[in-house]
């Protein structure tokens, strides 16, 4: 005779066995769905779970054992699980089962209790491979959303930090989280972001890249409009500037918006290093953008149109080197650039020791032999090598890909119209950047629209006590930072 609450109107049959069978029937008869009957006191109970999703010891120690030892108590009181709720419908019970909860049916109770017994496998926390820093924290996100939120919360221990969960995926659901600092982030932007996320629908979310593509302003632009990072410190710093972070379960990558073009050129190293050196390297990085896009185009236009521009002492060497090559400069440069792309692609896919070998074979052997064979001039090899190096300087994989893609159209117009072609292409690029928005905010800020005050954290990194305001492009609610960074005065 059940002595606890008896719900006549419960959705489940009074018999535990029947209830379990009902759930089993609507779940597919998968081999890893397991059922175990047990009795405590005079009562019968059944636990239903997916073997591969749960941790066996949790069921044993937190459900079965307490129930047996304290048979006289209500099960709610006896259970030793924190995450515990009552399923109100069959669907809810099924969903609980799929997400790794254990269903507990008790004879005669007409209810179904969901107990959190999920297995948590964590990869060890390592520094993200593509975002290494010299100085500063070395931890990175992992594939588990709760751990990632823990990282962020640990860094931003503020009452304003808000985490909002959202379930995405119509067939195979997964958890997403929108994280923002409520007192800083612009509510209008938070609303816009939520609205965008709510109105996307996919069968299954497999990575943040998919979400990124669905919510960004302009999909066909070569430039990424959401910053993605695996570094908790970078996320924390951006949250404090009023940006919004999106995490999804199963991906170690966090998306940040709204961002500007220049966010991609900032590295946490700039802020941990001394102001002067940080500024120097930031300028180098921004310089690399123009270098990577324009250098091959400039070379092609000089060789094919404007050789007068080369100083007299150099022109003989240039001529000597170029004249032996039978192909036009565009073909030469394209050939070398594509070779570099091949080496890169091969290097990524291969296991790392072989990848390095490919790099050496590609770089040294091909580079040397190709000049010796007279296919490509010495100068082209220098130009292509410099371009490759400068395109890898940018601390973001997406931006780096955009740059590598952009230099091809530049090379083609340079071979057609020389400097004028470069000017035309540059104008189109800049117009595009002026038009582009990230979550509705101008992407090329603070250059277009020009904001002098924000330039001090764009081209250079000024000292902390000069950075009194948050950047304008995320339109934070409070522009001023709370406190003066350096208050002491030397007498």
């Amino acid at each position: 005779m059940p002595f606890w609450r008896q719900d006549e109107n419960g959705v489940f049959p009074a018999s535990a066995d029947e209830s379990a069978k009902m759930i089993e029937a609507i779940a597919t008869h998968s081999s890893d769905i397991k059922k175990r009957s047990f009795s405590f006191g005079k009562t019968e109970g059944i636990v239903l779970y997916i073997e591969t999703m749960i941790e066996a010891s949790k069921i044993e120690e937190r459900i079965l054992q307490p129930l047996k030892e304290q048979a006289s108590k209500k099960p709610e009181d006896a259970l030793m699980v924190l995450d515990y709720e009552e399923a109100l419908s069959k669907e809810e019970a099924l969903k609980g089962l799929i997400t790794g909860k254990t269903l507990l049916f008790i004879e005669g109770s007409r209810t179904c209790l969901l107990c959190g017994t999920q297995k948590n496998t964590l990869r060890t926390i390592t520094e993200p491979l593509n975002e290494k820093v010299v100085r500063g924290p070395h931890d990175g996100f992992v594939e588990n959303i709760e751990t990632n939120i823990f990282f962020i919360r640990k860094r931003v221990e503020s009452k304003g930090l808000t985490v909002e969960y959202m379930e995405k995926g119509s067939r195979a659901g997964s958890l997403m989280a929108i994280i923002y600092e409520k007192d800083i982030a612009n509510p209008e932007l938070v609303k816009r972001m939520k609205q965008r996320l709510e109105t996307i629908d996919v069968e299954m979310v497999f990575d943040s890249g998919q979400i990124e593509e669905l919510i960004e302003d302009s999909t066909l632009s070569p430039f990424p409009q959401l910053l993605n990072t695996e570094r908790p410190d970078r996320v924390a710093a951006n949250l404090m500037e009023g940006r919004i972070a999106i995490l999804n379960d199963g991906s170690p990558t966090c998306l940040l918006a709204p961002v500007s073009f220049f966010s991609f050129y900032q590295s946490p190293d700039d802020y941990t290093a001394r102001s002067v050196t940080g500024s120097f390297y930031r300028i180098i990085r921004l310089f690399s953008f123009f270098f990577a896009i324009l250098l091959p185009a400039f070379y092609i236009s000089v060789v094919s149109f404007h050789s007068e521009i080369v100083p007299r002492d150099l022109i003989l060497q240039l001529q000597g080197s170029v004249e032996q090559v039978p192909y036009p400069p565009l073909i030469e440069a394209l050939f070398m650039e594509l070779t570099i792309e091949l080496i890169r692609e091969a290097g990524i896919r291969l296991p790392s020791p072989i990848g390095q070998t490919i790099g050496i074979v590609g770089g040294l052997v091909i580079g040397d032999a190709v000049v010796g064979a007279g296919l490509v001039s010495n100068f082209t090899v220098i130009v292509v090598a410099l371009t490759a190096i400068s395109s890898y300087v940018v601390p973001s994989t997406e931006m780096n890909a955009a740059i590598r893609l952009l230099r091809f159209p530049f090379m083609i117009v340079a071979s057609l119209f020389g400097f004028f072609g470069i000017v035309f292409a540059m104008m189109i690029l800049l117009i595009h950047l002026c038009k582009l928005t990230s979550l509705g905010m101008p992407y090329f800020s603070p250059l277009a629209p020009l904001r002098w005050k924000d330039l001090k954290d764009t081209f250079v990194r000024r000292t902390w006590w000069k950075l009194k305001k948050r950047p304008y492009d995320s339109k934070p609610q409070v522009m001023e930072k709370d406190s003066e960074a350096r208050q002491w005065v030397d007498k």
């Binding site: 149109f305 404007h306 007068e308 521009i309 080369v310 100083p311 007299r312 119209f417 020389g418 400097f419 004028f420 470069i422 000017v423 035309f424 104008m427 189109i428 800049l430 117009i431 002026c434 038009k435 101008p442 090329f444 250059l447 277009a448 629209p449 020009l450």
Partner: protein
């Protein structure tokens, strides 16, 4: 006017600056020299002074109707029919200026860099780039113009390099050409210094107080006047009187003589910058034309007008891209500029004052 699409006073400054600095930069000293001789730079200064008067008139006119563009307020002042007529004239004027800018650009590029490329190719490319920008709202265009203004530093660098070659005695005695010639010379500079008439359309789109708008436009015009005057002084002190009559683009010749350790022919690079300034001028005028045209056919957005005008302007500018046409059209536009910069705004202002038409609070 749509309140959301507005620009700041600084953006207005750079918009006017980019509209004024254009194709003229290469040949202005030569053109003025033809009439005013060595005192051409005084002519340019004089034109700058006239521009300041025009700015004051246009500003007084616009500030009476702070929410309206010329297309909107001209019917209020002089009635619907004459108002529409004035609008059509302005649209035509802007269209002709845009076409002339493109023609001059095409003819100079053909002379200096691409003698064998058909002008049609460049006309199509430039118009396509322009349409890509101009179909957006004023904010994006202004942002782009601000960005492009960084290249004006290139002009400053030229002054620094030219310093040691200059011979100031060439300028003396100042004013020897006579007041009449200097005055006529200033007419030649009108086309190069035009651009302030943008204010007739941009006034309501700028978010700033009355005085600030006047200040930035006057400032932009002053900047360009000073820059052109310096450039003219540079050329006149570099070339002798006889030489100047043979070089229609003296500025490039002058820059050609600069030799640096790393770059031999600086003029080729300067020509690339000049392309930027020319295209931005073209963009501004095509934008103004399409704004006016869109108002005339009463469409919400100027996007459709931009496409149509772009299609029209390519054949026109290619057809007129030769020396005779440029000469003839240049003279016509210079005179028309006087009408559209002074006469018409002054007439409208006078009528508005007599009929007491104003829509501002004061």
């Amino acid at each position: 006017m749509n309140k959301e699409a507005s620009i700041s006073s600084w953006q207005l400054y750079f918009f006017i600056l980019q509209t004024q600095v254009g194709v003229g930069i290469l040949s202005l000293p030569y053109k003025v020299h033809e009439v005013a001789g060595k005192d051409g730079w005084l002519s340019i200064l004089l034109t700058g002074f006239f521009m300041q008067i025009a700015i004051a008139v246009i500003w007084l006119l616009c500030s009476r109707f702070p929410e309206k563009t010329l297309s909107d307020f001209s019917p209020v002042i002089v009635g619907r029919v004459i108002g529409l007529f004035i609008n059509i004239l302005y649209v035509l004027f802007f269209f002709m200026v845009a076409s002339q800018v493109l023609s001059v650009f095409l003819s100079i590029t053909a002379d200096w860099a691409f003698p064998n490329t058909p002008p049609l190719v460049f006309a199509v490319i430039i118009t396509a780039i322009t349409i890509y920008l101009v179909k957006e709202d004023i904010r994006v265009i202004a942002r782009f113009h601000v960005l492009m203004s960084f290249f004006l530093v290139a002009v400053l660098i030229v002054f620094i390099f030219m310093w040691k070659y200059l011979n100031v005695y060439y300028l003396l005695p100042i004013g020897s050409s006579g007041i009449k010639d200097i005055l006529w010379g200033s007419e030649k500079a009108f086309f190069s210094l035009a651009g302030i008439e943008c204010l007739l359309w941009l006034y309501p789109m700028t978010q700033a107080d009355k005085r600030a708008k006047w200040k930035v436009v006057a400032g932009a015009s002053l900047t360009v006047t000073v820059m052109y005057t310096l450039l003219a002084i540079c050329t006149y002190t570099y070339f002798s009187r006889e030489k100047l009559t043979h070089v229609p683009e003296p500025v490039i010749y002058m820059i050609k003589s600069i030799e640096l350790e790393i770059v031999e022919r600086l003029d080729l690079i300067f020509l690339a910058f000049w392309a930027v300034f020319s295209i931005t001028t073209f963009m501004s005028y095509l934008y103004l034309t399409s704004l006016g045209a869109a108002k005339m056919v009463k469409t919400e957005h100027h996007k459709g007008a931009v496409y149509c005008l772009g299609l029209l302007i390519v054949p026109l500018s290619v057809y007129t891209a030769n020396d005779e046409h440029i000469q003839v059209l240049g003279d016509i536009i210079s005179r028309a500029a006087i009408a559209f910069l002074f006469a018409v705004p002054l007439f409208l202002l006078a009528v508005a004052m007599i009929r007491k038409k104003r829509e501002d609070q004061s």
